[in-house]
């Protein structure tokens, strides 16, 4: 198995004709937790949107190779089937669709794509209960409409629940700490840590060091004005904490 899971080279991308990423280079290895930190407007959310395949973001140059495949040619659902998962900064409400039906559709679509039979109702329920327990969600949670009327903490726990259900190879956590109190943060971080394996990797995107006290990164990259300007070990988090982003340049 190839050690390198994701290789981003000279990636330029933007939205509505505005270039936001201006030559991102980034390599993610299996087993790694990689933090991407940066100030507001650095391009952190654009990077996660481009990796997940958001249709309104346009890639103008560069390449992204994921597990030996050209990621930029894949539809969002194909990326999901290949093991990419984005935990949204702002999870979307889907009125009229229950969490149960949503996850059933997601899991069975992936199994179909892999040529596997659908899960039986009993198998599905067992999995649902097991993964709900991971983020301390109670029974009635599965009957609720996706994210409708959820608190900020519930929305983020729902993201991690979905991540647990889909067992991604590469998970991208976009500002998962925003809007979370410390208890919810701990539940979310605990869920993410328990899903770590030597074959999978995570990109943790954050403005603050707070989340990284709970999800400890192996590598830290600083994104500023659409480029990675510094990379290092977890000690870089402390440098940012004391000096701020102004003190860090390429």
């Amino acid at each position: 198995m190839n050690d390198i899971l994701l290789e981003i080279k000279d990636l330029h991308a933007g939205i509505e004709g505005r270039e936001i990423l201006r030559g991102v280079n980034l390599t993610i290895r299996r087993g790694e937790v990689c933090a991407v930190m940066g100030p507001n407007g650095a391009g952190k959310s654009t990077l996660s949107a481009v990796l997940a395949g958001r249709p309104d973001y346009k890639v103008t140059a560069g390449s992204v190779i994921y597990d030996g495949r050209n990621l930029l040619e894949m539809a969002p659902e194909e990326r999901s089937w290949a093991g990419i998962f984005l935990s949204f900064q702002y999870p979307v409400e889907i009125p009229g669709v229950s969490i149960t039906n949503f996850m059933k559709a997601a899991l069975n679509a992936r199994r179909k794509a892999a040529g596997q039979p659908e899960l039986s109702p009993a198998e599905f329920l067992k999995l649902l209960k097991e993964k709900m327990a991971l983020v301390q969600m109670k029974g009635e949670f599965a009957k609720r409409e996706v994210n409708v009327g959820f608190s900020g903490g519930e929305k983020k726990r729902n993201e991690i629940f979905q991540m647990a259900m889909l067992e991604p190879v590469l998970s991208i956590l976009d500002e998962t700490d925003s809007g979370l109190d410390v208890d919810a943060l701990r539940i979310v971080a605990d869920g993410v840590n328990r899903l770590r394996t030597p074959q999978t990797a995570s990109i943790v995107i954050t403005h603050y060091q707070r989340l990284l006290e709970y999800i400890v990164p192996d590598v830290v990259h600083v994104l500023k004005a659409g480029r990675i300007v510094r990379s290092g070990g977890r000690e870089l988090v402390d440098v940012i904490e004391t000096q701020g982003y102004d003190g860090i340049d390429g």
Binding site: D56, P76, L166
Partner: protein, 186 residues
């Protein structure tokens, strides 16, 4: 409460209904895909305490033309009418909904609510909605609301990012949109 389900193209469509004192009617009209029609339905609330709960749903996906005109008349005091209409319009189909709520002079304590919502699947589809209120009495509670919109691209992307193929994600959104009315037909 009297419950009635009418499937257009299969069941005869009523043109005039009357509710007397204390009578209740829960009426659901479904217009299946492929059915074109122009129809006018008038409902008179003629006795105090009459209650109407009316809902309609239709889905047009090719070149159907649906034009539904509904007139609900509150002729006496103390009647209630609730109306909910939802349509999904795709292809080159056209949908028109005219809804008039009339409150006669002296029909105090009337409660009348009407909602009509259209979901367009493409730019060629057309949905028109003309809600009207004609109120000639005081001390009434009347409202209407109409929306027309497309499938939400944020929802579509969210579903696709979880591995649900685009077509299936669209179908799930359409089903969720119509569900409140289809559930009445069960």
């Amino acid at each position: 409460m009297d419950k009635q389900l009418i499937i257009a193209g299969k069941d005869p469509m009523p043109s005039l209904l009357r509710l007397g004192a204390g009578e209740s009617l829960m009426l659901t009209i479904i217009i299946p895909e492929g059915v074109s029609l122009t129809h006018a339905l008038e409902i008179d609330l003629d006795g105090p305490g009459a209650r109407l709960d009316l809902a309609g749903a239709w889905k047009c996906s090719s070149d159907e033309q649906v034009r539904l005109q509904v007139v609900v008349r509150h002729n006496v005091p103390g009647c209630t009418s609730e109306q909910l209409f939802k349509c999904v319009v795709g292809g080159k189909a056209r949908s028109g909904f005219d809804g008039l709520v009339y409150v006669a002079p002296g029909a105090a304590k009337t409660v009348a609510h009407q909602q009509s919502h259209a979901l367009l699947l493409n730019a060629e589809a057309v949905a028109e909605s003309r809600p009207q209120l004609e109120i000639y009495a005081d001390d009434v509670e009347c409202s209407h609301g109409a929306t027309t919109g497309y499938l939400n691209p944020e929802e579509l992307f969210y579903m696709r990012s979880r591995g649900i193929p685009e077509e299936e994600a669209r179908a799930m959104q359409i089903e969720a949109f119509l569900a409140p009315i289809l559930a009445r037909a069960l």
